[in-house]
Symmetry: C2
């Protein structure tokens, strides 16, 4: 079996942890498997390097920043190879140039285009554990790129896809994917299995277990992902295309507090108004999430939508700049809001989920500001102060239907 194992920065933050990871990988190796290990930079290395860069240049070019940051993973992989060698296991570290991990041009946020497998396969064939730098690629100019935060997950999945690995294990500091954040919802349960789509909805809703792009890639290439703890031996959560549907109605409940509501008041109730507003925001790289449009009255209407809280100020600026052209009378906003979502593939064939959710929130006396749904998700916007209460209420409301 060929296994790709990915460990984050905290798992390799010091000598003791490096050896713990080494031993864990060696177990699989000794069991006869081919093992490819993907590592992030040690501990806070990446943040430290970024701080160093900012001490030199207020806004360093991403090309040079990537050149700097990619050293972090190279340190991790070489030390890991030494650790395995000190345990008498043949190992070799490889960086993005050596593997030939071809990425798009874009510095700081590149995507993989193609990963060569020759070198890795050659090293595996000579029975070495292969340790690869996560988070980085090489673009067509032969420059180093990084994949953006959490990119090492993507590296692991991309390698698993390119190598046709039997499984791709992502090690984190949690036991797996839970029905809700266990720090907030005391009855949260670990899921044994979850579909790619459910994982994507959960991840985009703030369950920060996996980098979203890595799940998208796993879905695209059919890579069986396992999220498991680097701290214990529990089995973790398997993420794949299909899971035992009959057992599940709701997979999980998630909250996202990095959100804010904007309302544009009194815009012309004419075709094209909404298009112009959202097109203006899109051109300025503002992603809009839930949208709610009031029924028109007196020739005008109100449109509310959510953006990520980080984008709120920019979004308001842009709307103010185009206030006249967009026929906006007034702009209001609220950052004290949060999204609560229930996610589950079983929802598609069960129309009662939305009603159930609204009922549990009503019983908990939580006001719903906005509602949005997808095929496998229902999201409501509530006041930020109600997040914990809402999460627990919804989770408990569906408790019987959770796997």
């Amino acid at each position: 079996m060929l296994i790709v194992k990915k460990f984050g920065g905290s798992s390799v933050a010091n000598k003791t942890r490096i050896f713990r990871v080494a031993e864990r990988c060696i177990e699989d190796y000794r069991a006869g498997h081919d093992v490819v290990v993907v590592l992030s930079a040690m501990g806070d290395t990446t943040d430290d390097l970024i701080a160093m860069a900012h001490s030199i240049h207020a806004n360093p070019k991403k090309r040079e920043l990537d050149m700097l940051l990619t050293t972090g993973e190279q340190v991790s992989v070489s030390l890991m190879a030494m650790a395995m060698q000190s345990l008498d296991v043949p190992a070799v570290s490889l960086n993005a140039f050596q593997v030939q991990m071809h990425s798009t041009e874009r510095y700081g946020n590149a995507r993989f285009k193609r990963i060569d497998t020759d070198r890795i396969t050659h090293e595996l064939d000579s029975r070495k554990i292969v340790i690869v730098t996560g988070f980085q690629g090489v673009n067509k100019y032969d420059d180093l790129t990084t994949l953006g935060r959490g990119g090492s997950d993507t590296t692991a999945v991309a390698l698993a896809a390119a190598l046709h690995a039997d499984r791709c294990e992502i090690f984190t500091d949690v036991d797996g994917v839970y029905t809700a954040d266990p720090r907030i919802v005391k009855n949260a349960m670990k899921l044994d299995e979850v579909t790619y789509d459910e994982m994507l909805e959960l991840a985009s809703l703030g369950a920060k277990v996996l980098h979203n792009r890595s799940v998208e890639m796993a879905k695209k290439y059919g890579v069986e992902l396992v999220v498991r703890s680097s701290l214990n031996r529990s089995e973790g959560t398997v993420i794949k295309e299909k899971v035992k549907m009959e057992k599940m109605l709701i997979t999980g409940v998630a909250a996202d507090t990095n959100t804010a509501r904007i309302s544009v008041i009194g815009v012309d109730d004419q075709p094209g108004t909404a298009f112009r507003i959202f097109n203006t925001l899109a051109k300025n790289n503002i992603n809009v999430d839930i949208i709610l449009q009031s029924v028109g009255r007196d020739g005008t209407k109100d449109i509310s939508f959510t953006v990520s809280e980080d984008d709120l100020d920019d979004a308001i600026h842009i709307l103010e700049d185009h206030k006249e052209a967009l026929t906006i009378k007034e702009i209001t906003s609220n950052r004290d809001v949060a999204k609560i979502s229930v996610v589950g593939a079983g929802m598609m064939s069960n129309p009662g989920v939305a009603a159930k959710m609204f009922e549990t929130l009503y019983n908990a006396r939580i006001n719903i500001n906005m509602i949005a749904t997808s095929e496998i998700r229902i999201t409501v916007l509530v006041d930020k102060k109600d997040v914990e209460k809402a999460l627990n209420a919804v989770h408990d409301g569906f408790a019987g239907q959770l796997e």
Copy 2:
């Protein structure tokens, strides 16, 4: 003019120094020159990385150690590019993969085989300052190698040769090449010019201004080297093929305390004895320096020679192991010795130099243990305690003849 400028680790040890180097390079750039900068790792980075490696593995594989160490220069060059960019000068950092600095296979002590110039030339043509990682290469397996300590000098010279640079400036913490170590010999003077051969003799004798291999390479490719201070604006010392000979008899006086004497007593006075002894040592990578053989007597003779002090124990071990085969009766050694040398191309046509040297040492009551000469060098072995006195005596003795 195309100028290659090399700065060592202490010159880029912190933000202030990085900017000082940046400004110095920018002056040449603004004067219209093409500028290539070669950097070592910041401050103690390399030592820190080595210590980190040793905390993981008592004797890490050199392949992985090189993978680790090469991150040090990559950090330097990316930060330098940011510093120049913050001063509004276009700059780009390149590592060994990007330049394609092809080296021999040998990890930890590789040599350059070929350096591609396409990428650098392309960046220079678009009027960027090009900042290249020193000390590192890529071997035929696509693995990173390092050139051994001081290797960044070699990188600079190799780049200057490949690019047909007009000059190659090596910045150090001294003003240039001196007639003797100014910390020991108070009358030591800075040389304006010195030949490659003289520099080689001086360097191999402990004047640690330049990495020897870099001087050999400069000589081979006719690269005009300049050694100058990174701390001030003094002109430094030019190292080239021919200098104004008429002015010079002696270029410098150097001491080397990393030496030890071994004597093998009572070996057979037969042809081949010396060959077998030195062949045995050579096969075990022990470099032998000065050799003195006594005239045979009673069918036996004594042979004395010097090795570097680091090799002394190994050398004695090896000789003990082969004592019988090499017909050695007894082995004696002495590590309390030092080599004192006078170097100068002018010596070739002036037979009085040796006599003058012996005279000055005799006047200072310093005992000479062994003597060895080359075309441009005379070396004597003295007791280690006499080093300072000997250096000053010889230097002052030749003072009138020093440039």
